[in-house]
């Protein structure tokens, strides 16, 4: 029997390997529940969706046929789909600059206040916390041509009532305004956080260097240093804007005459009103591709100009 003094490492390598194996298994074990959950709730439905998009599955039918890429070909030629794409892009084009710009403006205005800041933060953040479907009903009343207060004020001032939700050319801007109203508070909070991260003495140094006005300070220091925050806000706002559904479903139901039919609503109609599940799955995949492409594009373009 050799003593520990002559062969000091006997037994150690085996213990070390076993230790590592235990650690590895423990690591996988801890990550497994979340991973399984992610798989089940995100990946598996996506794969099912992928499969469905290649069939002509109708909700409730017993057998379905494999169609290959026919659904996708049909989608790209479908005028209804094209129209919903166009409506969605118009909506995003209004909401994105509106929500980001207004959020930034309010954050800059609130940033230096001390006593009234929390009060205004709460007021602007309340719409974010509210349930959009319930709020949509309230908005429908507010904008009503005969019963609503907005038109009441307009009539009292001598103008004609504006049919916000029943005139095809007014519908998308109105919905966009409500979308902005819902998003501004969230963007404001993000920008406030970004503004607090800018060191105070940078402004003082700039003041000594000659930054006279608020505009000078903004373009020299505030805007460049808000880069990461702005990038995040733009990406999240555009994704949220793409996903518009609640207001359309409650207030206009795609009308008048399809002028407010957005992508998600069109998909909803195809799948749950007309029961063309396979086609709806194909539309959903196209929608997903758009959102992904848009986000990747924004990230690449903005990443180069953002400094950390």
């Amino acid at each position: 029997m050799t003593t520990a003094a002559t062969l000091p490492y006997v037994g150690q390598p085996v213990r070390r390997d076993r230790q590592r194996m235990i650690e590895r298994i423990a690591g996988i074990g801890f990550a497994m529940p979340a991973f399984v959950l992610l798989l089940l709730t995100n990946v598996v439905p996506l794969l099912v969706l992928l499969y469905l998009s290649f069939t002509d599955f109708k909700l409730g039918e017993l057998n379905s046929h494999f169609l290959g890429l026919d659904n996708f070909r049909k989608a790209l030629a479908d005028p209804v789909f094209r129209r919903s794409l166009y409506n969605t892009f118009i909506y995003v084009a209004i909401v994105l600059p509106g929500a980001v710009g207004l959020g930034l403006l309010i954050a800059v205005l609130l940033h230096r206040r001390k006593r009234t800041r929390s009060f205004y933060e709460v007021i602007y953040f309340l719409p974010v916390t509210s349930t959009l479907i319930a709020m949509a009903t309230v908005w429908q009343f507010i904008l009503h041509p005969r019963l609503g207060p907005v038109n009441g004020v307009l009539r009292a001032m001598g103008f004609n009532a504006i049919p916000f939700l029943s005139e095809p050319s007014y519908v998308l801007p109105t919905l966009a305004a409500i979308g902005i109203w819902q998003l501004v508070g969230f963007n404001m909070v993000l920008f406030l956080a970004g503004l607090s991260a800018i060191p105070r003495d940078l402004y003082e140094a700039a003041e000594i260097d000659g930054c006279r006005s608020g505009i000078d300070r903004f373009i020299t220091i505030t805007w460049p240093l808000l880069g990461p925050t702005t990038m995040f806000v733009i990406v999240t706002t555009s994704i949220t804007a793409f996903k518009v559904f609640d207001t359309v479903a409650v207030m206009t139901r795609g009308g008048p005459m399809g002028s407010s039919e957005v992508l998600l609503y069109a998909i909803y109609l195809e799948g749950y009103q007309y029961f063309h599940m396979g086609y709806a799955a194909a539309l959903t995949l196209i929608f997903l591709a758009f959102v992904l492409l848009f986000s990747i594009l924004q990230t690449f373009v903005l990443e180069r100009r953002v400094h950390y």
Binding site: E204, A206, I208, G210, R212, I215, I219, T220, I221, H307
Partner: protein, 398 residues
């Protein structure tokens, strides 16, 4: 290049006075240091000079002209901050060029897209380019012009901050603890660089620090501040050799001065620990005094040794610290005295200086600084002259 004058400057934050009636005259081309412990008001004072804080009372004059109504950039001063305050999103070149860009180009010529329409911009930028490169060459940072501040070391960032200040050719440089964020070795190096820079360009420097070594080594004059007031203004050697106040004596000099209780005896001399010293006391007999003796002024000898012309404190060595070039001895005084003193010795220790040994610390009466009960300097420590009236605190230049 201009002189800076402060007249009756006072500042209160929410009723709490931070600066009390500050009067200061800084000559053109002088290097003046405001030194003091944290919270004494020195940073507030320099910010008032810069225009970043409005004063509650008093006037600031730059070049003899009151500037209270002028914005910071109109005052022709440049400031170097403790954290350098470099713009992280701009390259070093743009950082240094910013003051010139701000003053020479209009708003439209600076906006991102509209500036492409301006023809004047190109010629102005060419001039700015030359000036920035000249300053960068002076500070030896030409190779760093294309980098961003995050890619620079502490010393390099400091030079960029200096460059940004220098490029404006200001009337005065204001520096708020610029060396505090550097490590000890770099600090020593930058100290001499700043002093050489001052000698080279000759602009007025107003320097704020809490480090008395920086104050002593770099300045023409030092203003020691405490609790919102200037305790003493004068040459570094004056603050060291003739501190006007106990607080000044304690702050200047490392290790700190030893303070021992004493009183004025009936013959009009200072009496400490029962021994009458040949130092005249102005105060009434019996009044309490404090004697300050610097550690460098004490020499350790064996307990029974006496030296002609010297007096001695008896004590027991508690411990000694080896600094390499010298030693610091911590000595507990033997009864009837109590307390302990520090003694600084250059070179190696004599063999009798060991822990626990009883020593006599010899000092000359000329090395005693006498302070009255309020902490003010009361006597010139020359036994043969009459005691002078309380020394003027605000020393004249020269």
């Amino acid at each position: 290049m201009a002189s800076v004058a402060l007249q009756s400057i006072g500042k209160s934050f929410a009723g709490v006075p931070v600066l009390r009636d500050i009067n200061l005259d800084i000559a053109d081309g002088e290097f003046l240091t405001l030194v003091g412990a944290s919270g004494c008001g020195k940073s507030t004072l320099i910010r008032i000079i810069a225009g970043l804080e409005p004063q509650s009372t008093g006037t600031v004059l730059i070049g003899g002209v009151p500037v209270d109504h002028l914005r910071p950039h109109e005052r022709q001063v440049a400031m170097v901050f403790q954290s350098y305050a470099l713009y992280p999103h701009m390259k070093v070149f743009a950082n240094i060029a910013l003051p010139l860009v701000m003053s020479r180009l209009t708003l439209v010529e600076r906006l991102p897209f509209l500036r492409l329409m301006s023809r004047r911009r190109r010629s102005v930028m060419a001039g700015i380019n030359d000036e920035v490169r000249a300053v960068a060459k002076q500070l030896q940072i030409e190779g760093l012009l294309e980098r961003r501040p995050s890619q620079l070391s502490g010393g390099q960032r400091q030079r960029v901050a200096l460059g940004r200040a220098m490029v404006r050719k200001p009337a005065a440089f204001l520096m708020d603890e610029p060396l505090s964020n550097l490590d000890a070795k770099l600090r020593v190096h930058m100290r001499s660089e700043l002093a050489e820079l001052h000698a080279r360009i000759g602009t007025t420097f107003v320097y704020v620090t809490h480090d008395q070594v920086e104050a002593m080594t770099m300045s023409d004059r030092v203003a020691m501040m405490d609790n919102g007031e200037i305790l003493q203004l004068g040459r570094p050697s004056e603050l060291y050799a003739r501190p006007a106040n106990i607080r000044v004596a304690q702050f200047i000099g490392t290790p700190a001065i030893n303070l021992l209780p004493a009183k004025a005896n009936a013959e009009g001399f200072v009496e400490m620990l029962g021994h009458s010293l040949p130092v005249r006391a102005v105060s009434a007999p019996g009044s309490a005094l404090t004697i300050g003796i610097r550690p460098e002024a004490l020499t350790p000898t064996p307990l029974s040794t006496t030296r002609a012309g010297f007096h001695a404190l008896s004590g027991k060595l508690r411990r000694s610290e080896n600094l390499g070039a010298g030693h610091i001895l911590h000595v507990d005084l033997i009864a009837p005295a109590h307390g302990s003193v520090t003694c600084a010795v250059a070179g190696a220790l004599e063999p009798f200086v060991i822990d626990g040994a009883e020593l006599a610390l010899q000092f000359a009466s000329a090395a005693c600084h006498v302070f009255d009960a309020n902490g003010e300097r009361v006597a010139d420590n020359d036994a043969h002259t009459h005691a002078m009236p309380a020394a003027t605190r605000v020393g004249a230049l020269g």
